[in-house]
């Protein structure tokens, strides 16, 4: 039992428990703050998995940008906790839960993992072997950022360019929706 394995397990269990805490909060602000803690823990787990850039991006983008928007909206609307209530569980939801638990357990067992690894082997990727993708740039495994960048800008070039369109469309859409009737609504600044 080495230190990184131990801390990985502790962080994972804490993240799962905190997510349980999160979905039962009454105050939206508490839920958002717990979610930020979960994301920070996940960033630490990414770091232990040696995905250094993913860890940094998880905090910068997720905990530092997306959650800021959530917190802003919660604080702007100032939702009091009484407006929140738990809904009842319908039969359809029960079935959904059963199916999702079944799928999750199925994927979590050896059968599911066997499927995962055979799928990968059929693609020609053996487990634990370092393959730098289809491109011609090779960096040592310690240079995580450069490896990610090489994969992003060579293998996933089109996705990268399309993401910019997606973000642009999202921003324009968000402004159109949120700013719609601000002329009639003289909000206090």
């Amino acid at each position: 039992m080495n230190l990184s394995l131990l801390s990985f397990i502790v962080m994972g269990i804490t993240a799962v428990l905190l997510s349980g805490v999160m979905i039962t909060r009454r105050w939206p602000v508490s839920a958002a703050m717990v979610l930020i803690a979960i994301m920070t823990l996940l960033a630490g787990m990414f770091g232990l998995l040696e995905a250094h850039f993913a860890a940094a991006a998880q905090i910068i983008v997720y905990a530092g940008a997306i959650m800021v928007v959530f917190v802003f909206v919660i604080m702007l609307l100032n939702l009091p906790p009484e407006e929140l209530r738990y809904g009842g569980v319908t039969v359809g939801e029960m079935i959904l839960i059963a199916v999702s638990v079944f799928v999750a357990v199925g994927l979590g067992t050896k059968v599911g993992q066997g499927f995962l690894t055979t799928g990968l082997e059929s693609m020609g990727v053996a487990q634990g072997e370092s393959v730098a993708g289809g491109h011609h740039m090779y960096f040592p495994a310690s240079e995580n950022v450069k490896n990610v960048a090489a994969s992003m800008f060579v293998d996933y070039l089109w996705a990268f360019e399309l993401i910019s369109f997606l973000i642009m469309a999202a921003v324009i859409g968000a402004v159109v929706i949120a700013k719609k009737r601000s002329a009639e609504h003289a909000d206090a600044a």
Binding site: W27, V29, S30, M33, I36, T40, A43, G47, H52, F53, A55, A56, A57, I59, I60, A63, G64, A65, V68, V71, F72, M75, L76, S142, E143, N144, V145
Partner: protein, 379 residues
């Protein structure tokens, strides 16, 4: 006795990485904790100097006045003994949590700063950067991104409309300038080709620019430097960008319901962040801990005849730390000078400066630098 000493030496030898790491963290923490009280004293003295007053010069130590340097200590003790109350309407948990957040983030962020190149102890080379990730200074950006929440939470949990408005304004300001900050450092990344601060410092000291200037980032990309310093002021909520705490319009912004030690924890975090960002600027633009025209390796070579091989690296590291602190102190002086000479922005002006001027300038700077570096290096 002999045996236990041997066991200690054995333990130190096998766990040198852990012990050295804790030592580095402790050093950085001590520096960070000293910054706030000393800077408060410096600010008060300098404000007095600018406004032709005397300022705090009475409190001394052991009967010596020492220009009032006992003042920070007295302030700390006074703050400890102040009444610590929680307003009735406040959300207790977040009210208590909010000041701890910026303090912790400030103290953790400072660990990403290289305090020196390396020292050699008993054959082990120890890198003097407490936290050295492959993602480099993005670690500092990540920490400064989390800094938004302390302010926003303080405003929200106080349940006071001035505090809420101040907190939201402060966080909106911080996120607005974070973008320009990230974009300002991008050219430096592709000039040096690394995210690692140690690598950047090494790249700045290994050659001379035009044969006589040190190869510092400030000469390679001056616009980035100016942009970064401006965003640094905004990011730390300092004047002329401190209108979140504007006494005249928002009583004291998100700080209004805070007193005693909680109040000072906000300042501990703010000054630690100021130090961290100043040190980041120093490392990226001003050669970090390196003495101009005298790279670290050369310094060690010069010192080796005087001391012996290993102690020479220790002395060089101490000199390097001194140089770093001198450079950072110059920035801190700039912070204080700006605070008492520049008027405060209005909020709409602040947002306008951030989004309409800083951001396009940062983008243009990025494009121009990319083209220049491209033509110089790639053709």
């Amino acid at each position: 006795m002999e045996g236990s000493l041997g066991a200690v030496a054995q333990f130190l030898d096998t766990n040198i990485g852990l012990v050295a790491s804790i030592g580095k963290i402790a050093l950085a923490l001590v520096i960070a904790l000293q910054v706030a009280p000393i800077m408060v004293w410096v600010e008060r003295r300098q404000a007095a100097f600018i406004q032709r007053r005397i300022g705090p010069n009475r409190v001394g130590l052991f009967g010596f006045r020492l220009f009032g340097l006992g003042q920070p200590l007295a302030d700390t003790i006074k703050l400890l003994f102040k009444e610590d109350f929680i307003p009735q309407q406040a959300n207790k948990f977040f009210y208590v949590l909010a000041p701890i957040l910026p303090a912790v983030i400030g103290l953790v962020a400072i660990q990403g700063i290289p305090l020196g190149k390396e020292i050699i102890v008993a054959g082990h080379t120890i890198d003097l950067q407490p936290v050295n990730l492959n993602a480099g200074f993005l670690y500092l950006f990540a920490m400064s991104a989390l800094g938004v929440y302390g302010v926003a939470l303080a405003g929200w949990s106080s349940n006071n409309k001035y505090a809420l408005l101040g907190g939201l304004r402060a966080s909106a300001q911080m996120i607005s300038y974070e973008i320009a900050m990230g974009l300002a450092l991008l050219p430096m990344v592709f000039i040096y080709g690394t995210l690692d601060l140690q690598g950047m410092i090494a790249a700045q000291s290994d050659s001379l620019l035009f044969g006589f200037l040190p190869n510092w980032g400030i000469f390679l990309s001056p616009i980035s430097f100016v942009l970064f310093v401006v965003t640094m002021f905004a990011e730390t909520n300092r004047l002329p960008f401190d209108l979140a705490e504007g006494e005249a319009e928002l009583v004291a912004g998100f700080l209004v319901e805070y007193g005693s030690m909680r109040w000072s924890l906000f300042f501990l975090g703010e000054y630690a962040m100021m130090f961290t960002l100043s040190a980041l600027t120093t490392c990226v633009f001003l050669g970090g801990y390196e003495i101009p025209w005298l790279p670290h390796a050369q310094l060690v070579t010069l010192l080796t005849p005087i001391f012996t091989a290993e102690p020479a690296t220790w002395v060089a590291a101490a000199i390097g730390l001194g140089v770093l602190i001198v450079k950072v102190a110059a920035f801190m002086f700039l912070f204080v000078q700006a605070r008492f000479t520049l008027p405060r922005f209005r909020y709409d002006q602040l947002m306008r400066v951030g989004w309409v001027y800083m951001l396009p300038v940062a983008l243009l700077n990025l494009v121009v630098m990319a083209l220049i570096v491209g033509f110089l290096r790639l053709t």
